[in-house]
Every structure is written in structure tokens, then in C-alpha cells.
Symmetry: C2
Subunit: 165 residues, 2 copies
């Protein structure tokens, strides 16, 4: 059971017309995200479920992953919005029997969730996992017992390391 | 200040003629290691210091990294042999002013050292970082204070994710 925590791509700055929730991916953000999605597809990755924060920049990231063939569909999932509580989606997760799922969301939440899955808690006042935009964290979860504190980290990468060029 | 903990490539099995310390890289191990080294070079990585466990499979891995232009030379460093104590090389490290260093060694030591750099300790009886052969862990170290427990993980990858094809 593998979980991929994927950060949204580079988004446009806030302006007078858009709220934070409405900020779209920039052209560069879209391109890098497409590159990452293509690499995942080439490597044979496929998500049984693809859930995303409802914010536009995350939703657009999930749409790119879906359009690249990594998942049949994507679904909005409010616990992935900024400041979401890990227990809200872990409760959902425990009802599933998937092999691989992807959650698209935001920092610092994703990095803290990664720490919680692997080490059971996260450092106060300090992020221990550097997660860049369109980067990802891969955690292998133990199918038995509490998902928190029983995971094994198998991947942490930014697009820089992941993209072929 | 970045530290790369690099695991040796795939090595031949032990046989009647070779001790564990003498096991060389296989042809596949050599090829994958060369691919990883080439990718690092393409990405502009350069090590100010490249230290290796004295075991043959590690030394050959370090030689490939050096030959690819990632470092001017490599040096044998006995604290990197299997079962080495992190404090032995951290004491050395604290005397250096390098921007990027690479340590070539073995599991489970490298994964445990990565955990110690980032979280201060490592889980007893369980490895939390999955580090495959010719894979690597990248940690950004805080130049001030104790290197243990103050690092930030920026990379954890196996060759599978890192190589372009």
C-alpha cells in the first residue's frame, strides 16, 4: 500500500481579482507538473484513487495527473485543503483496500503528514521534509495497525531531481 | 551544507574465494551506478569531499562517482564500514567547511544516520528510510549547532526514480 503526497505546481500570485483559493497554475507550473506526471506514467505508476484539495491550483494539478493516465478520475476532498487534519483522511484511508493512492495538497501539511505517517509525529516549529512545488513524498504503509508511525519513506523528490532534463 | 548518503551498487554474492569485504560490483551494479553518477553530474552536483567505506563494493561505487567528475578524488574512511558509529564521522564533519559532501556506505547504517541527522534518533527494530542499492539520501544540515536532529531531508530516491529510463 503506497501513498503519494503530491504538492501542487507553481501557481500565480494573488491579485485583486483572485482569492488564494482561486490562484491557477502558471504556464511553468503546468509544464513542470506535466513533466512529473509523464515520468510517473513512464515508470508504471497508477493510482487507484486520486484525491485533491479543492483549491484551484491543487485541482489543476490533479487534473493533469488524471489526464496523463495515472488515475481513472480525481475527486475533491476537503480534508486536503490547507490546515487539514491528518485524522480526517486517515479515517477515510482505513476503509480502503487500494494498492496506491495519491493525495494532492499543500505545504506545510503534506510534509507534516509524511512525518506523522513515518515517525508518528512531526517536529514543532520545523519542517523536516523539504517538499517543493510539484514534488512528492512516497510512503509505504503497513496494512495492519495504526497508519501513523508505521510507514516507511521510499521517495522524497522535487521536480529538479525527478525530471529527466 | 548538503550531505549525500549514497549506498553502494549491486554486488556479487559471497563465494568460496571472496570475503564479504571483497565482493565487487556486478556488471549491472556498475551500470546503474554509472547512470546515477551521470545524472548527478548533469544536474550540476559536485562534491567537495567524497568519502567511502573501505569495502570493495563501496570503493568501486566511489570510484565511479569520482570518474564521472563529481569529485576530484575519493578517500577511504573506516567509520563508514558496516556498523560504523555516526559520531565518528560527525566529529570529522564538524571540522569541515564544505558545501556538499558524499559518504558512500552500507545499509542499515546510512538510513539510520539519515534519521539521526533529521530526527535526532532512529527507530529501534525498524528502518524508516528505504534505501536501495545505488540509491541516495540528501540532507541539508544546519551550519550551526549539533548536526544531529537539525537536518532537513531534501532527497530520498532509488535508481528506479532517479534514472531517466
Amino acid at each position: 500500500m503506497q501513498i503519494y503526497l503530491i504538492r501542487h505546481g507553481i501557481a500565480a500570485d494573488r491579485n485583486a481579482q483572485t482569492t488564494d483559493a482561486e490562484r491557477p497554475l502558471t504556464e511553468k507550473g503546468r509544464k513542470k507538473t506535466q513533466g512529473v506526471a509523464q515520468r510517473l506514467a513512464t515508470l508504471g505508476v497508477r493510482f487507484d484513487a486520486l484525491l485533491t484539495s479543492p483549491l484551484v491550483r491543487a485541482k489543476q494539478t490533479a487534473a493533469i495527473l488524471q489526464q496523463t493516465g495515472l488515475a481513472a478520475r480525481y475527486e475533491l476532498f476537503t480534508p486536503l485543503a490547507p490546515g487539514g487534519d491528518i485524522h480526517l483522511w486517515v479515517n477515510w484511508y482505513q476503509l480502503q483496500t487500494y494498492n496506491a493512492i495519491a493525495l494532492v495538497g499543500h505545504q506545510p501539511d503534506l510534509g507534516q503528514w509524511g512525518e506523522q505517517l513515518v515517525w508518528g509525529d512531526h517536529r514543532a516549529n520545523a519542517d523536516r521534509l523539504i517538499l517543493k512545488k510539484a514534488g512528492m513524498i512516497g510512503v509505504k504503509l503497513n496494512p495492519n495497525g495504526n497508519p501513523l508511525g508505521n510507514g516507511e519513506l521510499f521517495l522524497l523528490t522535487s521536480p529538479k531531481w525527478f525530471l529527466a532534463n
